[in-house]
């Protein structure tokens, strides 16, 4: 059941990205290009998602156990530290260069061609580098 709901949630998430135009890096870059021919569409995606998410998380915060009986895992830390800020700067820089963030990139693997594979492979390498850094105690 858990696997089925996760699969369904993944499909709906991907459909949302496609319907919202977010699987097209050119459209994402048009949102980030506030000094150019600005396309505010991405803000509408965020607005729609948060409008539902707000009530979802408000309900989840009241119950420690999910509807399937699994403990609700909310991030425990509220820390605003160097890792958070440096990570956000590095992520933002990559996002601004390619117009891809993890969701749209993974969603486009079967349909976007070789360039998407290249981006996703590099992204997985970056994630693996982070995992390695944590295990070795560098980070």
């Amino acid at each position: 059941m858990i696997v089925l709901i996760a699969l369904l949630a993944g499909i709906i998430f991907g459909l949302g990205l496609i319907v919202g135009g977010m699987t097209n890096p050119a459209k994402v870059l048009a949102f980030l290009d506030i000094m150019g021919d600005w396309d505010p569409s991405l803000a509408f995606v965020m607005l729609g998602a948060i409008a539902v998410g707000f009530f979802a998380f408000r309900a989840a915060a009241r119950k420690p156990v999910s509807l399937l009986g699994v403990p609700v895992q909310l991030p425990g830390t509220r820390l605003i530290d160097r890792k958070l800020l440096l990570g956000a700067v590095l992520f933002g820089a990559g996002w601004g260069i390619a117009g891809f963030c993890p969701g749209p990139a993974v969603t486009s693997v079967f349909t976007g061609g070789v360039a998407v594979w290249l981006f996703v492979a590099s992204m997985l390498a970056g994630m693996a580098l982070h995992t390695l850094g944590v295990r070795r105690g560098w980070l």
Partner: protein, 141 residues
């Protein structure tokens, strides 16, 4: 604003919100893509199945979409070396900062988390600065 699609994007956002609702209310999980993907292999064995299922869902979603309408184009402007650099930065940065557009941007802001608001404003401002530099200062692309 040639390509502005407020209605489609709002509907897309509502779908993403509904997916987030399924994840948190039924599974008790945050639908943050960088966290789900980044811990596909490093998570404990009993914490992997739902991650794989979610990623499979993302991967097949365009095939589901294509049953109803032609898929929109995926237009990539960055050249190969830039794509590789961007990928590494997105992968490493999102893990170091504990989240990306979905984890901090959608889930975090939905929870009214100050930490996620700071992260979201930081990566948005950085991305906007990079696009400004690329397009309007160095005039590439």
């Amino acid at each position: 604003m040639v390509h502005f699609t407020p209605l489609e994007s709002l509907v897309g956002g509502l779908l993403i919100g509904f997916s987030t609702l399924l994840m948190i209310r039924w599974l008790g999980k945050i639908s943050g893509i960088s966290g789900i993907v980044g811990q596909l292999w490093s998570a404990p064995a009993n914490d992997r199945a739902w991650r794989f299922a979610f990623v499979v869902g993302l991967l097949v979603s365009p095939l589901v979409y294509a049953l109803f309408a032609p898929l929109p184009a995926v237009q990539i402007v960055a050249s190969t070396p830039w794509l590789v650099l961007a990928g590494v930065l997105v992968g490493f940065g999102s893990r170091l900062g504990s989240g990306c557009t979905s984890g901090h941007g959608v889930c975090g802001l939905s929870r009214l988390s100050l930490r996620s608001l700071v992260a979201t404003l930081t990566f948005m401002a950085t991305a906007m600065l990079v696009v400004w530099l690329v397009r309007h200062v160095f005039l590439i692309g």
